[in-house]
Protein backbone atom coordinates (compact mmCIF):
# COMPACT_ATOMS: atom_id res chain seq x y z
CA UNK A 1 0.00 0.00 0.00
CA UNK A 2 1.24 3.45 -0.89
CA UNK A 3 1.94 5.59 2.15
CA UNK A 4 -0.96 7.98 2.10
CA UNK A 5 -1.45 11.22 3.88
CA UNK A 6 -5.15 10.47 3.99
CA UNK A 7 -7.34 7.45 4.45
CA UNK A 8 -7.94 6.22 0.92
CA UNK A 9 -10.66 3.76 1.92
CA UNK A 10 -12.65 6.52 3.61
CA UNK A 11 -12.22 8.72 0.56
CA UNK A 12 -13.41 5.99 -1.78
CA UNK A 13 -16.60 5.69 0.26
CA UNK A 14 -17.36 9.30 -0.72
CA UNK A 15 -17.73 8.23 -4.36
CA UNK A 16 -20.79 5.99 -4.84
CA UNK A 17 -19.92 5.26 -8.47
CA UNK A 18 -16.72 3.46 -7.46
CA UNK A 19 -18.86 0.61 -6.07
CA UNK A 20 -20.45 -0.26 -9.40
CA UNK A 21 -19.52 -3.05 -11.72
CA UNK A 22 -18.78 -2.79 -15.41
CA UNK A 23 -19.12 -5.88 -17.59
CA UNK A 24 -19.38 -7.90 -14.38
CA UNK A 25 -16.09 -6.59 -13.02
CA UNK A 26 -15.49 -3.96 -10.33
CA UNK A 27 -15.07 -0.57 -11.97
CA UNK A 28 -11.49 0.68 -12.18
CA UNK A 29 -11.93 4.27 -13.30
CA UNK A 30 -8.75 5.66 -14.83
CA UNK A 31 -10.17 8.29 -17.19
CA UNK A 32 -9.93 11.17 -14.77
CA UNK A 33 -8.31 13.54 -17.26
CA UNK A 34 -11.53 13.37 -19.28
CA UNK A 35 -13.81 13.79 -16.30
CA UNK A 36 -13.45 13.09 -12.62
CA UNK A 37 -16.02 11.30 -10.48
CA UNK A 38 -18.40 13.12 -8.18
CA UNK A 39 -18.38 12.76 -4.40
CA UNK A 40 -21.64 12.27 -2.51
CA UNK A 41 -21.31 15.72 -0.99
CA UNK A 42 -21.51 17.31 -4.44
CA UNK A 43 -24.33 15.00 -5.52
CA UNK A 44 -26.21 15.96 -2.32
CA UNK A 45 -25.68 19.64 -3.13
CA UNK A 46 -27.30 19.11 -6.54
CA UNK A 47 -30.22 17.18 -5.02
CA UNK A 48 -30.63 19.83 -2.30
CA UNK A 49 -30.70 22.64 -4.87
CA UNK A 50 -33.42 21.06 -6.98
CA UNK A 51 -35.32 19.83 -3.91
CA UNK A 52 -35.35 23.07 -1.95
CA UNK A 53 -34.46 26.27 -3.78
CA UNK A 54 -34.43 25.88 -7.56
CA UNK A 55 -35.10 29.38 -8.91
CA UNK A 56 -33.68 31.89 -11.34
CA UNK A 57 -31.13 34.24 -9.89
CA UNK A 58 -30.43 37.96 -9.59
CA UNK A 59 -33.86 39.13 -10.73
CA UNK A 60 -36.41 37.50 -8.47
CA UNK A 61 -37.79 39.20 -5.38
CA UNK A 62 -39.01 35.97 -3.87
CA UNK A 63 -37.23 33.89 -1.24
CA UNK A 64 -36.17 31.01 -3.47
CA UNK A 65 -34.57 33.37 -5.96
CA UNK A 66 -32.70 35.12 -3.18
CA UNK A 67 -31.49 31.81 -1.73
CA UNK A 68 -30.33 30.61 -5.14
CA UNK A 69 -28.61 33.94 -5.84
CA UNK A 70 -26.83 33.86 -2.48
CA UNK A 71 -25.64 30.29 -3.02
CA UNK A 72 -24.45 31.03 -6.55
CA UNK A 73 -22.54 34.14 -5.52
CA UNK A 74 -21.13 32.29 -2.53
CA UNK A 75 -19.78 29.70 -4.96
CA UNK A 76 -18.16 32.50 -6.97
CA UNK A 77 -16.52 33.73 -3.76
CA UNK A 78 -15.23 30.25 -2.99
CA UNK A 79 -13.72 30.03 -6.48
CA UNK A 80 -12.17 33.47 -6.09
CA UNK A 81 -10.60 32.40 -2.81
CA UNK A 82 -9.42 29.08 -4.22
CA UNK A 83 -7.59 30.68 -7.14
CA UNK A 84 -6.69 33.77 -5.11
CA UNK A 85 -8.25 36.24 -7.54
CA UNK A 86 -8.20 39.75 -6.10
CA UNK A 87 -11.89 40.38 -6.84
CA UNK A 88 -14.87 38.00 -7.07
CA UNK A 89 -16.02 39.79 -10.24
CA UNK A 90 -12.86 38.56 -11.93
CA UNK A 91 -14.45 35.10 -11.84
CA UNK A 92 -16.81 34.62 -14.79
CA UNK A 93 -18.96 31.51 -14.82
CA UNK A 94 -18.88 29.69 -18.15
CA UNK A 95 -20.08 26.33 -19.37
CA UNK A 96 -16.49 25.07 -19.19
CA UNK A 97 -12.95 25.61 -20.38
CA UNK A 98 -13.78 25.63 -24.09
CA UNK A 99 -16.48 28.25 -23.59
CA UNK A 100 -14.08 30.36 -21.53
CA UNK A 101 -11.39 30.21 -24.22
CA UNK A 102 -13.89 31.10 -26.92
CA UNK A 103 -15.08 34.04 -24.84
CA UNK A 104 -11.57 35.48 -24.69
CA UNK A 105 -10.85 34.71 -28.35
CA UNK A 106 -14.06 36.44 -29.36
CA UNK A 107 -13.22 39.46 -27.22
CA UNK A 108 -9.82 39.90 -28.81
CA UNK A 109 -11.31 40.21 -32.30
CA UNK A 110 -11.57 43.96 -31.92
CA UNK A 111 -8.15 44.26 -30.27
CA UNK A 112 -5.96 42.60 -32.92
CA UNK A 113 -4.73 43.84 -36.26
CA UNK A 114 -3.34 42.20 -39.34
CA UNK A 115 0.23 41.07 -38.73
CA UNK A 116 -0.18 40.70 -34.97
CA UNK A 117 1.11 37.39 -33.68
CA UNK A 118 -0.46 34.80 -31.41
CA UNK A 119 1.78 32.20 -29.81
CA UNK A 120 0.36 28.82 -28.92
CA UNK A 121 2.12 25.70 -27.63
CA UNK A 122 2.49 22.45 -29.55
CA UNK A 123 1.07 20.62 -26.54
CA UNK A 124 -2.43 22.03 -26.87
CA UNK A 125 -5.65 20.18 -27.34
CA UNK A 126 -8.07 21.30 -30.02
CA UNK A 127 -10.04 23.62 -27.73
CA UNK A 128 -6.94 25.73 -27.27
CA UNK A 129 -5.99 25.72 -30.95
CA UNK A 130 -9.15 26.13 -32.99
CA UNK A 131 -10.54 29.30 -31.32
CA UNK A 132 -7.21 31.03 -31.96
CA UNK A 133 -7.11 29.87 -35.57
CA UNK A 134 -10.60 31.30 -35.96
CA UNK A 135 -9.43 34.53 -34.34
CA UNK A 136 -6.52 34.69 -36.81
CA UNK A 137 -8.95 34.22 -39.71
CA UNK A 138 -11.09 37.06 -38.39
CA UNK A 139 -8.26 39.49 -37.74
CA UNK A 140 -5.39 38.58 -40.05
CA UNK A 141 -3.19 37.75 -37.06
CA UNK A 142 -0.62 34.97 -37.43
CA UNK A 143 -0.37 31.83 -35.31
CA UNK A 144 3.10 30.82 -34.06
CA UNK A 145 3.72 27.47 -32.41
CA UNK A 146 6.13 26.70 -29.57
CA UNK A 147 7.62 23.33 -30.59
CA UNK A 148 7.87 20.31 -28.31
CA UNK A 149 10.59 17.70 -27.87
CA UNK A 150 10.40 13.92 -27.75
CA UNK A 151 9.97 13.92 -23.98
CA UNK A 152 6.82 15.94 -24.46
CA UNK A 153 8.29 19.17 -23.12
CA UNK A 154 8.11 22.59 -24.73
CA UNK A 155 11.34 23.83 -26.28
CA UNK A 156 11.59 26.99 -24.23
CA UNK A 157 14.51 28.41 -26.15
CA UNK A 158 12.32 28.43 -29.25
CA UNK A 159 9.53 30.07 -27.27
CA UNK A 160 11.76 32.98 -26.34
CA UNK A 161 12.82 33.31 -29.98
CA UNK A 162 9.17 33.51 -31.07
CA UNK A 163 8.39 36.50 -28.87
CA UNK A 164 8.64 39.96 -30.36
CA UNK A 165 6.87 43.30 -30.39
CA UNK A 166 4.14 41.88 -32.65
CA UNK A 167 3.23 39.18 -30.12
CA UNK A 168 -0.10 40.14 -28.63
CA UNK A 169 -1.27 36.91 -27.06
CA UNK A 170 0.25 33.73 -25.69
CA UNK A 171 -1.82 30.64 -24.98
CA UNK A 172 -0.67 27.50 -23.27
CA UNK A 173 -2.08 24.77 -21.13
CA UNK A 174 -0.80 24.42 -17.60
CA UNK A 175 -0.79 20.64 -17.97
CA UNK A 176 -0.99 18.68 -21.24
CA UNK A 177 -4.12 16.50 -21.35
CA UNK A 178 -2.52 13.97 -23.67
CA UNK A 179 0.85 13.56 -21.94
CA UNK A 180 0.50 15.02 -18.45
CA UNK A 181 3.47 17.39 -18.90
CA UNK A 182 3.42 20.33 -16.49
CA UNK A 183 4.46 23.35 -18.53
CA UNK A 184 6.73 26.09 -17.13
CA UNK A 185 3.94 28.65 -17.11
CA UNK A 186 5.75 31.06 -14.78
CA UNK A 187 8.52 31.46 -17.35
CA UNK A 188 5.97 31.65 -20.19
CA UNK A 189 3.97 34.39 -18.47
CA UNK A 190 6.99 36.48 -17.46
CA UNK A 191 8.53 36.39 -20.93
CA UNK A 192 5.23 37.22 -22.64
CA UNK A 193 4.66 40.20 -20.39
CA UNK A 194 8.11 41.54 -21.24
CA UNK A 195 6.95 42.05 -24.84
CA UNK A 196 3.55 43.33 -23.74
CA UNK A 197 1.56 40.21 -24.66
CA UNK A 198 -1.40 38.93 -22.68
CA UNK A 199 -1.36 35.30 -21.51
CA UNK A 200 -4.17 32.78 -21.22
CA UNK A 201 -3.40 29.60 -19.35
CA UNK A 202 -5.71 26.62 -19.82
CA UNK A 203 -5.80 25.14 -16.35
CA UNK A 204 -8.35 22.39 -17.09
CA UNK A 205 -5.85 19.57 -16.53
CA UNK A 206 -3.92 21.30 -13.78
CA UNK A 207 -6.71 22.48 -11.49
CA UNK A 208 -7.58 18.95 -10.23
CA UNK A 209 -3.97 18.46 -9.10
CA UNK A 210 -2.30 21.84 -8.58
CA UNK A 211 -3.72 24.84 -6.72
CA UNK A 212 -2.97 27.79 -8.98
CA UNK A 213 -2.57 31.27 -7.50
CA UNK A 214 -3.50 33.65 -10.28
CA UNK A 215 -2.02 36.70 -8.55
CA UNK A 216 1.26 34.95 -7.84
CA UNK A 217 1.39 33.75 -11.44
CA UNK A 218 0.42 37.23 -12.64
CA UNK A 219 -1.57 35.49 -15.36
CA UNK A 220 -4.06 37.51 -17.41
CA UNK A 221 -6.58 34.72 -17.97
CA UNK A 222 -6.88 31.28 -16.38
CA UNK A 223 -9.64 28.85 -17.35
CA UNK A 224 -10.89 25.63 -15.78
CA UNK A 225 -13.76 23.12 -15.98
CA UNK A 226 -15.75 22.03 -12.95
CA UNK A 227 -16.25 18.45 -14.06
CA UNK A 228 -12.54 17.67 -13.98
CA UNK A 229 -12.34 18.58 -10.31
CA UNK A 230 -15.17 16.60 -8.74
CA UNK A 231 -17.87 19.03 -9.87
CA UNK A 232 -20.67 18.59 -12.41
CA UNK A 233 -20.38 18.97 -16.18
CA UNK A 234 -21.51 22.14 -17.92
CA UNK A 235 -19.81 24.61 -15.61
CA UNK A 236 -16.39 26.19 -15.54
CA UNK A 237 -14.79 29.54 -15.02
CA UNK A 238 -12.80 32.20 -16.72
CA UNK A 239 -10.56 34.12 -14.41
CA UNK A 240 -9.52 37.41 -15.96
CA UNK A 241 -7.66 40.39 -14.61
CA UNK A 242 -10.17 43.17 -14.06
CA UNK A 243 -8.39 45.50 -16.49
CA UNK A 244 -8.59 42.93 -19.29
CA UNK A 245 -12.20 42.01 -18.58
CA UNK A 246 -13.16 45.67 -18.72
CA UNK A 247 -11.32 46.05 -22.02
CA UNK A 248 -12.93 43.04 -23.72
CA UNK A 249 -16.35 43.62 -25.30
CA UNK A 250 -19.29 41.40 -24.23
CA UNK A 251 -19.28 37.93 -25.70
CA UNK A 252 -23.01 37.33 -25.97
CA UNK A 253 -26.00 39.64 -25.63
CA UNK A 254 -29.08 39.31 -23.50
CA UNK A 255 -30.26 38.66 -19.98
CA UNK A 256 -28.00 39.48 -17.10
CA UNK A 257 -25.33 41.20 -19.19
CA UNK A 258 -27.34 44.38 -19.85
CA UNK A 259 -27.64 47.50 -17.76
CA UNK A 260 -30.19 49.35 -19.82
CA UNK A 261 -31.74 48.58 -23.17
CA UNK A 262 -33.46 50.94 -25.56
CA UNK A 263 -33.79 50.48 -29.29
CA UNK A 264 -31.30 53.28 -29.70
CA UNK A 265 -28.57 52.04 -27.38
CA UNK A 266 -27.76 49.37 -24.85
CA UNK A 267 -25.40 49.76 -21.96
CA UNK A 268 -23.76 46.78 -20.38
CA UNK A 269 -23.76 45.53 -16.83
CA UNK A 270 -20.64 45.61 -14.69
CA UNK A 271 -18.40 42.64 -14.20
CA UNK A 272 -18.94 39.74 -13.83
CA UNK A 273 -22.45 39.97 -15.32
CA UNK A 274 -21.20 41.62 -18.52
CA UNK A 275 -20.05 38.16 -19.62
CA UNK A 276 -22.89 36.11 -18.15
CA UNK A 277 -25.73 36.53 -20.62
CA UNK A 278 -28.83 34.43 -20.10
CA UNK A 279 -29.69 32.06 -17.28
CA UNK A 280 -26.49 30.39 -16.16
CA UNK A 281 -25.94 26.86 -14.89
CA UNK A 282 -27.00 27.89 -11.38
CA UNK A 283 -26.97 24.45 -9.84
CA UNK A 284 -23.68 23.66 -11.57
CA UNK A 285 -22.02 26.76 -10.15
CA UNK A 286 -23.21 25.99 -6.63
CA UNK A 287 -22.10 22.36 -6.96
CA UNK A 288 -18.72 23.47 -8.30
CA UNK A 289 -18.29 25.44 -5.09
CA UNK A 290 -19.14 22.32 -3.08
CA UNK A 291 -16.58 20.34 -5.10
CA UNK A 292 -13.88 22.86 -4.26
CA UNK A 293 -14.82 22.62 -0.59
CA UNK A 294 -14.48 18.86 -0.82
CA UNK A 295 -11.07 18.91 -2.54
CA UNK A 296 -9.73 21.58 -0.22
CA UNK A 297 -10.92 19.47 2.69
CA UNK A 298 -8.54 16.74 1.52
CA UNK A 299 -5.83 19.25 0.67
CA UNK A 300 -4.09 19.82 -2.64
CA UNK A 301 -0.64 19.09 -1.24
CA UNK A 302 -1.83 15.71 -0.02
CA UNK A 303 -3.56 15.06 -3.35
CA UNK A 304 -0.43 15.95 -5.34
CA UNK A 305 1.82 13.80 -3.17
CA UNK A 306 -0.46 10.78 -3.34
CA UNK A 307 -1.09 11.07 -7.09
CA UNK A 308 2.65 11.38 -7.73
CA UNK A 309 3.17 8.10 -5.92
CA UNK A 310 0.46 6.52 -8.07
CA UNK A 311 2.18 7.89 -11.18
CA UNK A 312 5.57 6.49 -10.22
CA UNK A 313 4.11 3.11 -9.35
CA UNK A 314 2.06 2.91 -12.56
CA UNK A 315 5.00 3.99 -14.70
CA UNK A 316 7.30 1.39 -13.19
CA UNK A 317 4.73 -1.40 -13.46
CA UNK A 318 3.67 -0.62 -17.01
CA UNK A 319 7.28 -0.46 -18.19
CA UNK A 320 7.71 -4.11 -17.16
CA UNK A 321 5.51 -4.98 -20.17
CA UNK A 322 7.64 -5.75 -23.19
CA UNK A 323 7.04 -3.44 -26.14
CA UNK A 324 5.21 -0.82 -24.06
CA UNK A 325 6.25 2.74 -24.72
CA UNK A 326 5.22 5.74 -22.66
CA UNK A 327 4.67 9.06 -24.42
CA UNK A 328 5.39 12.08 -22.29
CA UNK A 329 8.40 11.44 -20.09
CA UNK A 330 8.95 14.86 -18.59
CA UNK A 331 10.07 14.73 -14.97
CA UNK A 332 7.39 17.30 -14.21
CA UNK A 333 4.13 15.47 -14.83
CA UNK A 334 0.71 15.03 -13.31
CA UNK A 335 -0.69 11.54 -12.88
CA UNK A 336 -1.17 10.67 -16.54
CA UNK A 337 0.41 7.71 -18.33
CA UNK A 338 -0.06 7.76 -22.09
CA UNK A 339 1.23 4.62 -23.77
CA UNK A 340 1.15 2.22 -26.69
CA UNK A 341 2.32 -1.33 -27.20
CA UNK A 342 4.35 -1.86 -30.30
CA UNK A 343 2.27 -3.21 -33.19
CA UNK A 344 -1.06 -2.79 -31.39
CA UNK A 345 -3.74 -0.21 -31.85
CA UNK A 346 -4.79 1.75 -28.74
CA UNK A 347 -8.47 1.09 -29.48
CA UNK A 348 -7.90 -2.65 -29.31
CA UNK A 349 -6.19 -2.40 -25.94
CA UNK A 350 -8.84 0.00 -24.62
CA UNK A 351 -11.68 -2.24 -25.78
CA UNK A 352 -10.27 -5.26 -23.99
CA UNK A 353 -9.56 -3.22 -20.84
CA UNK A 354 -13.20 -2.09 -20.89
CA UNK A 355 -14.34 -5.72 -20.86
CA UNK A 356 -12.23 -6.11 -17.72
CA UNK A 357 -13.94 -3.14 -16.06
CA UNK A 358 -10.99 -0.78 -16.57
CA UNK A 359 -11.96 2.63 -17.98
CA UNK A 360 -9.13 4.33 -19.87
CA UNK A 361 -9.19 6.79 -22.74
CA UNK A 362 -7.93 5.78 -26.15
CA UNK A 363 -7.39 7.88 -29.25
CA UNK A 364 -5.83 11.22 -29.99
CA UNK A 365 -7.33 12.89 -26.90
CA UNK A 366 -8.42 15.86 -29.02
CA UNK A 367 -4.74 16.67 -29.44
CA UNK A 368 -4.04 15.47 -32.97
CA UNK A 369 -0.93 17.64 -33.49
CA UNK A 370 0.77 15.79 -30.62
CA UNK A 371 -0.09 12.43 -32.15
CA UNK A 372 1.14 13.67 -35.54
CA UNK A 373 4.40 14.70 -33.86
CA UNK A 374 4.93 11.14 -32.60
CA UNK A 375 3.49 9.68 -35.85
CA UNK A 376 0.96 7.55 -33.99
CA UNK A 377 -2.84 7.27 -34.34
CA UNK A 378 -3.32 7.78 -30.63
CA UNK A 379 -2.45 6.34 -27.25
CA UNK A 380 -3.98 4.49 -24.34
CA UNK A 381 -4.20 7.03 -21.57
CA UNK A 382 -4.58 6.06 -17.93
CA UNK A 383 -5.12 9.12 -15.77
CA UNK A 384 -5.29 8.85 -11.99
CA UNK A 385 -7.08 10.73 -9.28
CA UNK A 386 -6.65 10.80 -5.51
CA UNK A 387 -9.36 8.14 -5.11
CA UNK A 388 -7.47 5.58 -7.18
CA UNK A 389 -5.34 2.90 -5.56
CA UNK A 390 -2.22 0.91 -6.20
CA UNK A 391 -4.43 -2.19 -6.41
CA UNK A 392 -6.34 -0.59 -9.29
CA UNK A 393 -3.06 0.02 -11.07
CA UNK A 394 -2.26 -3.67 -10.61
CA UNK A 395 -5.58 -4.49 -12.30
CA UNK A 396 -4.72 -2.11 -15.14
CA UNK A 397 -1.31 -3.69 -15.64
CA UNK A 398 -2.75 -7.21 -15.56
CA UNK A 399 -5.40 -6.06 -18.06
CA UNK A 400 -2.82 -4.62 -20.43
CA UNK A 401 -0.86 -7.87 -20.24
CA UNK A 402 -4.01 -9.84 -21.01
CA UNK A 403 -4.88 -7.55 -23.92
CA UNK A 404 -1.37 -7.92 -25.28
CA UNK A 405 -1.58 -11.71 -25.08
CA UNK A 406 -4.93 -11.69 -26.90
CA UNK A 407 -3.78 -9.32 -29.61
CA UNK A 408 -0.40 -10.92 -30.34
Amino acid sequence: MIQTVFDILTIRKDFPILNRKVNGEPLVYLDNAATSQTPKRVIDTIVDYYSRYNANIHRGVHTLSQEATDAYEEARNKIQKHFNASESHEIIFTSGTTHAINLVASGFTSLLNKGDEIVVSALEHHSNIVPWQMLCERTGAVLRVIPMDLEGKLVMKEYHNLLNQNTKLVFCNHVSNALGTVNPIEEIITAAHKVGAAVLIDGAQAAPHIKADVQLLDVDFYVVSGHKMCGPTGVGILYGKEAWLKKLPPYQGGGEMIEEVTFEKTTYADLPHKFEAGTPNICGGIAFGAALDYMNGIGFNAIAQYEHELLEYATAQLLTIEGLKIYGTSTDKTAVVSFNIEGMHPYDIGSILDKLGVAVRTGHHCAQPIMDFYKIPGTVRASFSFYNTKEEIDILVAGVKRAKAMLE
Partner: protein, 140 residues
Protein backbone atom coordinates in the same frame (compact mmCIF):
# COMPACT_ATOMS: atom_id res chain seq x y z
CA UNK B 1 -24.15 -19.54 -50.35
CA UNK B 2 -26.79 -16.90 -49.93
CA UNK B 3 -26.36 -13.99 -47.56
CA UNK B 4 -28.97 -15.51 -45.26
CA UNK B 5 -27.12 -18.84 -45.14
CA UNK B 6 -23.81 -17.14 -44.36
CA UNK B 7 -25.47 -15.14 -41.62
CA UNK B 8 -26.89 -18.30 -40.06
CA UNK B 9 -23.47 -19.93 -40.24
CA UNK B 10 -21.94 -16.96 -38.40
CA UNK B 11 -24.71 -17.03 -35.77
CA UNK B 12 -23.96 -20.75 -35.22
CA UNK B 13 -20.25 -20.07 -34.83
CA UNK B 14 -20.77 -17.31 -32.31
CA UNK B 15 -23.30 -19.35 -30.31
CA UNK B 16 -20.52 -21.76 -29.40
CA UNK B 17 -18.63 -19.11 -27.46
CA UNK B 18 -19.25 -19.01 -23.75
CA UNK B 19 -17.88 -15.60 -22.88
CA UNK B 20 -16.64 -12.33 -24.31
CA UNK B 21 -13.01 -13.47 -24.28
CA UNK B 22 -13.70 -16.19 -26.79
CA UNK B 23 -15.75 -13.84 -28.95
CA UNK B 24 -12.98 -11.27 -28.92
CA UNK B 25 -10.32 -13.86 -29.66
CA UNK B 26 -12.37 -15.10 -32.58
CA UNK B 27 -12.81 -11.58 -33.93
CA UNK B 28 -9.06 -11.02 -33.58
CA UNK B 29 -8.44 -14.26 -35.52
CA UNK B 30 -10.87 -13.16 -38.21
CA UNK B 31 -9.11 -9.81 -38.37
CA UNK B 32 -5.75 -11.46 -38.86
CA UNK B 33 -7.12 -13.59 -41.67
CA UNK B 34 -8.75 -10.70 -43.51
CA UNK B 35 -7.44 -10.40 -47.07
CA UNK B 36 -5.81 -7.02 -47.21
CA UNK B 37 -7.03 -4.34 -49.49
CA UNK B 38 -4.60 -3.41 -52.21
CA UNK B 39 -2.42 -0.51 -51.12
CA UNK B 40 -3.65 1.67 -53.98
CA UNK B 41 -7.17 1.55 -52.54
CA UNK B 42 -6.15 2.69 -49.05
CA UNK B 43 -7.10 6.24 -49.88
CA UNK B 44 -9.00 8.89 -47.96
CA UNK B 45 -11.92 8.34 -50.34
CA UNK B 46 -12.21 4.75 -49.17
CA UNK B 47 -12.12 5.50 -45.44
CA UNK B 48 -15.40 4.88 -43.66
CA UNK B 49 -16.46 7.89 -41.65
CA UNK B 50 -17.71 7.20 -38.16
CA UNK B 51 -15.01 4.75 -37.16
CA UNK B 52 -12.50 5.95 -34.57
CA UNK B 53 -9.93 3.58 -35.94
CA UNK B 54 -9.27 3.75 -39.65
CA UNK B 55 -11.26 1.43 -41.92
CA UNK B 56 -10.78 1.28 -45.65
CA UNK B 57 -13.25 -0.55 -47.88
CA UNK B 58 -13.01 -1.04 -51.63
CA UNK B 59 -15.73 -2.51 -53.84
CA UNK B 60 -15.38 -3.91 -57.33
CA UNK B 61 -17.89 -5.53 -59.61
CA UNK B 62 -16.93 -8.94 -61.01
CA UNK B 63 -19.61 -10.12 -63.39
CA UNK B 64 -22.86 -9.49 -61.57
CA UNK B 65 -21.31 -9.79 -58.10
CA UNK B 66 -19.71 -7.28 -55.83
CA UNK B 67 -16.31 -8.06 -54.31
CA UNK B 68 -15.32 -6.20 -51.13
CA UNK B 69 -11.80 -5.86 -49.76
CA UNK B 70 -10.96 -3.99 -46.58
CA UNK B 71 -8.41 -3.18 -43.96
CA UNK B 72 -8.20 -1.41 -40.62
CA UNK B 73 -5.38 -0.23 -38.39
CA UNK B 74 -7.09 -1.84 -35.35
CA UNK B 75 -7.34 -5.61 -35.23
CA UNK B 76 -10.74 -5.91 -33.51
CA UNK B 77 -12.22 -3.50 -36.04
CA UNK B 78 -10.62 -5.61 -38.72
CA UNK B 79 -12.41 -8.63 -37.26
CA UNK B 80 -15.72 -6.81 -37.46
CA UNK B 81 -15.25 -5.78 -41.07
CA UNK B 82 -14.09 -9.32 -41.83
CA UNK B 83 -17.45 -10.64 -40.62
CA UNK B 84 -19.26 -8.13 -42.80
CA UNK B 85 -17.15 -8.91 -45.85
CA UNK B 86 -17.67 -12.63 -45.40
CA UNK B 87 -21.40 -11.93 -45.40
CA UNK B 88 -21.70 -9.49 -48.25
CA UNK B 89 -18.74 -10.02 -50.58
CA UNK B 90 -19.24 -12.09 -53.73
CA UNK B 91 -22.97 -11.34 -53.67
CA UNK B 92 -25.26 -9.58 -56.10
CA UNK B 93 -25.78 -5.89 -55.31
CA UNK B 94 -29.56 -6.39 -55.27
CA UNK B 95 -29.19 -9.12 -52.62
CA UNK B 96 -26.90 -6.90 -50.52
CA UNK B 97 -29.41 -4.06 -50.69
CA UNK B 98 -32.27 -6.37 -49.68
CA UNK B 99 -30.41 -8.17 -46.88
CA UNK B 100 -31.33 -7.46 -43.29
CA UNK B 101 -28.59 -7.21 -40.68
CA UNK B 102 -30.34 -8.54 -37.60
CA UNK B 103 -27.67 -11.22 -37.32
CA UNK B 104 -25.33 -8.57 -35.90
CA UNK B 105 -27.61 -8.31 -32.87
CA UNK B 106 -27.98 -12.09 -32.65
CA UNK B 107 -24.24 -12.75 -32.45
CA UNK B 108 -23.97 -10.20 -29.65
CA UNK B 109 -21.42 -8.13 -31.50
CA UNK B 110 -22.93 -4.77 -30.64
CA UNK B 111 -23.14 -5.47 -26.93
CA UNK B 112 -19.45 -6.24 -26.92
CA UNK B 113 -18.53 -3.01 -28.60
CA UNK B 114 -18.13 0.41 -27.11
CA UNK B 115 -20.72 2.90 -28.38
CA UNK B 116 -18.14 4.47 -30.70
CA UNK B 117 -17.32 1.07 -32.18
CA UNK B 118 -21.01 0.20 -32.45
CA UNK B 119 -21.52 3.43 -34.39
CA UNK B 120 -18.59 2.44 -36.58
CA UNK B 121 -20.24 -0.92 -37.22
CA UNK B 122 -23.42 0.82 -38.35
CA UNK B 123 -21.33 3.07 -40.61
CA UNK B 124 -19.60 0.04 -42.14
CA UNK B 125 -22.89 -1.69 -42.94
CA UNK B 126 -24.28 1.54 -44.36
CA UNK B 127 -21.20 1.97 -46.55
CA UNK B 128 -21.39 -1.60 -47.93
CA UNK B 129 -25.04 -1.04 -48.80
CA UNK B 130 -24.24 2.29 -50.43
CA UNK B 131 -21.67 0.56 -52.64
CA UNK B 132 -24.30 -2.01 -53.55
CA UNK B 133 -26.81 0.70 -54.46
CA UNK B 134 -24.22 2.48 -56.61
CA UNK B 135 -23.26 -0.69 -58.50
CA UNK B 136 -26.88 -1.79 -58.84
CA UNK B 137 -27.51 1.51 -60.61
CA UNK B 138 -24.68 0.69 -63.01
CA UNK B 139 -26.09 -2.78 -63.68
CA UNK B 140 -29.50 -1.33 -64.43
Amino acid sequence: MSIKEIQEEIIDEFSMFEDWTQRYEYMIELGKSLPLIEEQYKTDDNIIKGCQSKVWVHAELEGDKLIFTADSDAIITKGIIAILIRTFSDQKPSDIIAADTDYIDQIGLKEHLSPTRANGLVSMIKQLKLYAIAYQTQLN
